[in-house]
């Protein structure tokens, strides 16, 4: 594993749902259920390294409603973005058609964005982001990773550089503080899939 990359963690939401909610609920619905699942994820993350990237997998979830999506996705992101340490990054897997509307809805409501796998091995930004952010993110997604001195390949002008800074700040790409190398999050979790 790269030495300048965060520790990867795979979290299967279907499994967390079964484990953290006492009844045999098959759907990710209602706010208390979402809260219980988020707390279980947070507990798991507390045991991670100083910097982690989590692959949160919705593939086995039948239904997710807006209340649950808000608790599991939006609140989780918001919490870690508000933390000065910024020690956690997230990729949401299995955000297929049945879940996408709800996940996008709760992110847009709070001007948040996330990296999501919306079709097998197809990653995209969901939520709220600018055109510039989208373009820079798409270029990095194609290149997977890029050295500090080659950043102009994905952010060729001033607005691109600002967009890249914003993507780093919003936890939508990862930049190593040691090497300055920039990574697409999908690349960092590829071996977990």
């Amino acid at each position: 594993m790269r030495t300048d990359a965060p520790d990867p963690i795979a979290i299967d939401i279907g499994e967390v749902l079964q484990r953290s909610v006492t009844s045999l609920y098959s759907s990710l619905i209602t706010r208390p259920t979402g809260r219980a699942v988020r707390m279980a994820i947070e507990t798991q993350l507390r045991g991670a390294g100083t910097l982690s990237i989590s692959l949160i997998d919705f593939s086995e979830v039948g239904i997710i409603d807006y209340s649950c999506a808000d608790e599991v996705v939006a609140k989780l992101l918001k919490q870690y973005l508000a933390d000065e340490r910024r020690d956690a990054l997230f990729v949401f897997r299995g955000v297929r058609e049945p879940h996408r509307l709800q996940v996008e809805g709760v992110l847009q409501r709070q001007n948040l964005a996330a990296v999501a796998e919306t079709a097998p091995s197809q990653f995209t930004l969901v939520g709220t982001f600018s055109d510039q952010e989208r373009q820079v993110w798409d270029r990095l997604e194609v290149k997977k990773t890029i050295c500090a001195d080659a950043v102009d390949q994905i952010a060729p002008d001033r607005s691109g550089v600002m967009a890249l800074e914003s993507l780093v700040e919003r936890g939508l790409v990862f930049r190593s503080s040691e090497s300055g190398r920039v990574h697409a999050l999908s690349q960092l979790v590829a071996h977990l899939m």
């Binding site: 759907s27 239904i63 997710i64 807006y66 209340s67 808000d70």
Partner: protein, 286 residues
Amino acid sequence: MDQSSIDEFLDEVVQYQGERLLFDARHLRWVDPNGMLGLLLAGSVAGETLGVRPQIELPDNPDVQGYLDRMGFYSHAQKVFECGADPSGIVPRASDVLLEITAINTNHDVHEIVDRVQGRAGAMLTSKLGYPSASVIPFSVMLSEVCQNIIEHAEGPGWVAAQAYNWAKRLGRFVIVISVMDCGRGFKGSLSDEHSARYGDRWSDSTALEAAFLHGLTRFADPGRGQGLQQIRKQVSKWSGLISARSGTARISQVPEWGDSLPMVDGMAPLPGAQISIILPAVVGP
């Protein structure tokens, strides 16, 4: 008794609050989920004021009796009314019901409702309404959110019921009717502490409904809250459906082109709780 007549009926019940009431349903010839939950709500309102359960005369018509039975009305009615006749002799038939009347008291109830409705909803949405099979997910999400509304905001018990009908005369196609009613504190009661000051003299049931229904206001400071109703409205609109919510003296509606409801009706009797009705029509053929 359905969406079109329920307000008049409930207003009358509020007017007679404090008096011992007999609900005479003997001549009832038609009742949909709004009518059934309206009856339960009316009985609860009347009973709560007096501390004595009101009486009900059950319908004479065997078809209506059988339908009420299939919808599970009698078991709920026995908790709300003094029933004039014992309905237990009615022979239950195989249920073609989308969602029987179900009490909502906890989040566990919401899970059960969504789990139960999925299989039936899939078949009805595709065969009766012509919706794609994947629509069972947004339908379940909508049901989940509208039921949670009771737990989160009413702070009182409520009921949900849903069924498909052929609105041959009214609309020339099938519809699914979903009704959710509670006798809790209503939209105004839920929002008052946090928002009434900003509205000043304008604060009323209608402004509270507008705030929640149109603008997603909620009593919680959390910006993630208050999106349930907004998303339900969006989904209902995608399906060209009608959604309306009554709370207290007002009713607000999002009216599709086939509907004839007014967007806002005010000045009704002060009914406790909130009553939400959703009508989803079949897609119009090519």
